[in-house]
């Protein structure tokens, strides 16, 4: 299966084509990971040559949608890193509860598992009724799935364990109805969610939030793009709002780091000073 290896110059050509033709800018994504995903798609779809791959991407809109789906990473799970969610439950939600209305943004939410996780925590803190959760992703396909709130039943045991480790006190299965191999989550949770496409590279701030979660998205971006996205989050966060990142991501190199304070050892930062 050792087929043709795309050269980095060829990948660059594709990214330029895609930007001019479709307006999606992947040029500031981390190259190693991007190249691997593109190579994988190239092999998966049996392209005989780079030229044919390029031609298809230039001339076949639906195929470009497949490209976006396949090269963006959509791996996610419910209540991943239980200690993170325990901190949300014990430290962040009590603060948010003092607001009359809570707005939360899950940026790069993929198929929505984290949004449902948050909704469960809010419900248990009796805050869901006054909350609105925005879930956005660059990929329209995963947003469609997030809206449905249907996940594989095979994952539920793992999620249930995460839930207990995160301090959950109920029976996790009370949040979904299992039907054959699918678990459909309680529509009361969905009632407080809004899903839409949003491209962190090119789209603007669309609201002010008290909590923004963006976990395992920034690892795919080069430093300058990370900085740009940090600015977008900074603009979208109310003063004293929280920004939550993935377990291997950090605000350390962001230009506004000095105006944020980390919450314990979790990857959660609080904006303690408006733009100075």
């Amino acid at each position: 299966m050792e087929g043709y290896q795309l050269q980095s110059e060829e990948v660059q050509l594709l990214l330029n084509d895609i930007y001019t033709q479709y307006g999606y800018d992947f040029t500031e994504y981390s190259k190693a990971s991007l190249q691997r995903r593109i190579q994988r798609l190239f092999a998966l779809d049996f392209f005989p040559s780079f030229a044919e791959f390029r031609y298809r991407l230039q001339n076949d809109g639906p195929y470009f949608r497949r490209f976006v789906e396949e090269i963006t990473v959509n791996v996610t799970e419910m209540l991943r890193d239980p200690s993170f969610y325990r901190t949300i439950r014990t430290t962040i939600l009590p603060v948010l509860s003092t607001y009359p209305f809570i707005r939360i943004w899950h940026a790069g939410c993929s198929t929505g598992e984290e949004v449902y996780s948050m909704a469960i925590l809010l419900k248990e803190a009796d805050l869901l009724h006054k909350s609105l959760l925005y879930g956005t992703d660059i990929n329209p396909q995963v947003i469609e799935r997030a809206r449905k709130g249907i996940f594989p039943v095979s994952q539920m045991q793992k999620y249930s364990e995460n839930y207990i480790q995160a301090g959950g006190l109920k029976d996790f299965s009370s949040y979904y109805t299992a039907n054959y191999h699918l678990a459909k989550f309680d529509s009361a949770l969905q009632g407080k969610m809004m899903f839409s496409t949003h491209n962190l590279v090119s789209d603007f701030s669309f609201n002010a939030f008290q909590l923004i979660l963006c976990r395992n998205v920034l690892i795919y971006f080069e430093r300058e793009l990370q900085t740009k996205v940090f600015r977008l989050f900074d603009h979208s966060l109310e003063n004293f709002g929280y920004l939550a990142l993935g377990s291997k991501e950090s605000l350390r190199f962001a230009p506004m780091a000095a105006r944020y304070r980390q919450i314990g050892r979790e990857k959660i930062w609080r904006k303690v000073d408006e733009q100075g």
Binding site: E2, K31, A32, S33, Q35, I219, K248, S250
Partner: protein, 188 residues
Amino acid sequence: MNKDRLLVIGGSAGSLHVIVTVLAALGKDYPMPVLVVLHRNGIFESNLEELLASRTGQKIREVEEKDLLQAGVVYICPADYHVLLERDRSFSLDYSERVNFSRPSIDVSFRSAADVYGEGLVALLLSGGNADGAEGMAYVKQRGGFTIVQDPVTAEVPYMPQQALLRVGVDVVAATGELPAVVSALGR
């Protein structure tokens, strides 16, 4: 000799004590950075770095994204992320699907390191119970890198090195006891 070099060590079940003896033998002035891709399977939550530091005398660091590789440092893949290399000799992390049921996957790091380091790459594959690393070994070889496999006869779990030997004509097959000397010699 080409100064732009990297040693990547891939290991799974039964490889930890071999990693310890190899790293301890490299000494303080080994001339290239080392990346350890160990299947952690949740067994070593956070104390792996401490354990390796105390038992090898090496400067151990868990990979952080965008860290520039430095000789004299042994980098450990974090649990649950693939580790890739960029052209500027920095690390990228990737949380995509498991490869060979593994994240970090040895194949992923071998391939990515081979793309960047080519002939400057040394790849060492150790004991383990799945086929991760075999395909990556073949790719390292194809790119001109130097390939070493722990002799399956002496490996605690022979399957992983066996799979690599079935796919690739590697440069060196070394018994467990010989590995520290073989790897050290490459740094001279």
